[in-house]
């Protein structure tokens, strides 16, 4: 479903992605893990063209994401993206945050879009926050609104870039639970995360990155018990024993 083929990306002369090859099949959940600066955010952001690439190509359902001829707005409306810092629209209510893109991009009627937005918010435990502004919500609530906003477009793929890293510990669970629930629906997902337990529990594959390269791709059990690479061993030692 997502085909990343020999992707290279540079910031000026500095190369941040090296020959990335990755195939993510439908309904699979991939975790991107690795040390800070490894290029995880950069890679996940290339999948919906928030970042450009200089070489290689990325196919989503066979459509080349970075091809100038591709209708990027239509493609993006099928790929949900959840940011570390939520990026909710502060001037709009939770309901408007969730229903705007269905209304203005998909041209769904306002009534229909708002009904669906309310359902989504309720299913994420936010039924009583429909009319709240982001500034009136906790971090965990904001992130759940952001997840609802992404789901409102009925995406085929969900991308998460450290969805819990900006949250206080007591709010992490509510957001992880929302993602867990999504995992049971067969959604194709890519999650950048530092939550190793979570990655191990819900993911089909762990993609370990370091220095702009994919160092290792393995099922969680294998990666967490017998990492093949030295970088992987090193990384696990650091994160699991701190």
């Amino acid at each position: 479903m997502i085909n990343i083929q020999n992707v290279n990306k540079y910031y000026g002369k500095h190369q941040v992605l090296h020959n990335i090859e990755l195939e993510i099949p439908k309904s699979q959940i991939f975790a991107l893990i690795g040390p800070s600066g490894a290029g995880k955010s950069t890679l996940i952001r290339t999948i919906n063209a928030l970042e450009e690439i200089q070489e290689g190509q990325i196919l989503v359902d066979g459509i080349s994401v970075h091809d100038k001829k591709t209708d990027i707005n239509t493609l993006r409306s099928e790929i949900g993206f959840v940011f570390q810092n939520f990026h909710l629209y502060p001037h709009l209510t939770a309901l408007q945050n969730v229903s705007y893109s269905p209304i203005y991009v998909k041209k769904v009627s306002k009534k229909e879009a708002e009904t669906r937005a309310k359902e989504l918010l309720s299913s994420l435990g936010l039924g009583n926050k429909v009319d709240s502004f982001p500034g009136q919500l906790s971090g965990g609530q904001q992130q759940r609104v952001a997840i609802a906003r992404a789901l409102a477009m009925d995406p085929k793929i969900m991308l998460f870039d450290e969805p819990t890293s900006a949250l206080d510990p007591e709010m992490i669970k509510e957001v992880l639970d929302a993602i867990r629930k999504l995992a049971t629906t067969g959604m194709t997902m890519v999650v950048v995360t530092h939550e190793m337990g979570f990655a191990r529990e819900i993911c089909n594959q762990i993609v370990f990155m370091a220095d702009g390269k994919v160092v290792e791709v393995a099922p969680p059990e294998q990666f967490f018990t017998q990492p093949q690479s030295d970088r992987g061993k090193d990384f696990l030692n650091k994160v699991l024993n701190h």
Partner: protein
């Protein structure tokens, strides 16, 4: 100081004063209405990723900002007017509108740039086009941030409109000049005119303050 105040000069010349006031209001309001779209457009074009478009907008903004309004008005009236036949009234409005527009452009640009980058990214990620994202997500947030500097700009516009008297537009200032010319009551007339200008700008600043409050609650 041996000067007898005589305020009767004001009611005696009320018609001329009100006519001048009315003209000042008209010119300021029309210039304002025209300068807002000019300013928003120029501000948006300036941040365009197309270098040529951005260059054109920058040239307009920097050039107008670098020329005194007085000179701009004289140039429009005595030079541009030869070709476009605007007349004094429209020369004044066009001059004020383009002058004010260049400042509004910079306010708009600063307002847009003050909206965090993540807002545009979030909007584009959910499939909105650049223009839709600007319209629904970025500009409404920028609007709240630009209200105070916009208020200052509108107040400056009203005050600057007093310069149009040099191209013989019979605004409030010219009315004052004419009345003083015949009655020699400088103190009373100019004090009253000053108060009228103050009243206009005061009302504007109150309206904007009200708008600021109204939109603050929403966040």
């Amino acid at each position: 100081m041996d000067y007898n105040l005589d305020w009767s000069v004001i009611p005696q010349n009320m018609d001329a004063i009100l006519e001048g006031l009315w003209l000042t209001l008209q010119i300021s309001a029309l210039a304002l209405l025209i300068s807002i779209p000019i300013g928003i457009l120029a501000g948006l074009l300036r941040i365009s990723r197309n270098h040529f478009i951005s260059f054109l907008a920058t040239t307009y903004i920097e050039f107008i900002r670098g020329v005194p309004l007085l000179v701009l008005l004289l140039w429009i009236y005595f030079v541009l007017n030869q070709f476009l036949h605007l007349g004094a009234y429209w020369s004044a409005i066009v001059g004020l509108a383009f002058f004010s527009g260049s400042f509004i452009a910079e306010i708009v640009r600063a307002g847009i740039e003050s909206v965090p980058r993540g807002q545009m990214e979030a909007a584009r990620s959910s499939g909105m086009s650049y223009i839709t994202a600007m319209r629904l997500i970025i500009l409404p947030q920028a609007f709240r941030k630009v209200l105070p500097p916009m208020a200052s700009q509108f107040i400056i516009l009203i005050k600057d409109s007093s310069l149009v008297s040099v191209i013989s537009v019979a605004d409030l200032t010219l009315a004052g000049k004419n009345i003083v010319g015949t009655t020699f009551r400088s103190l009373e007339v100019w004090t009253f005119i000053a108060l009228l200008y103050f009243a206009m700008t005061f009302i504007i600043s109150q309206v904007i303050r009200f708008l600021e409050k109204k939109y603050k609650v929403a966040e």
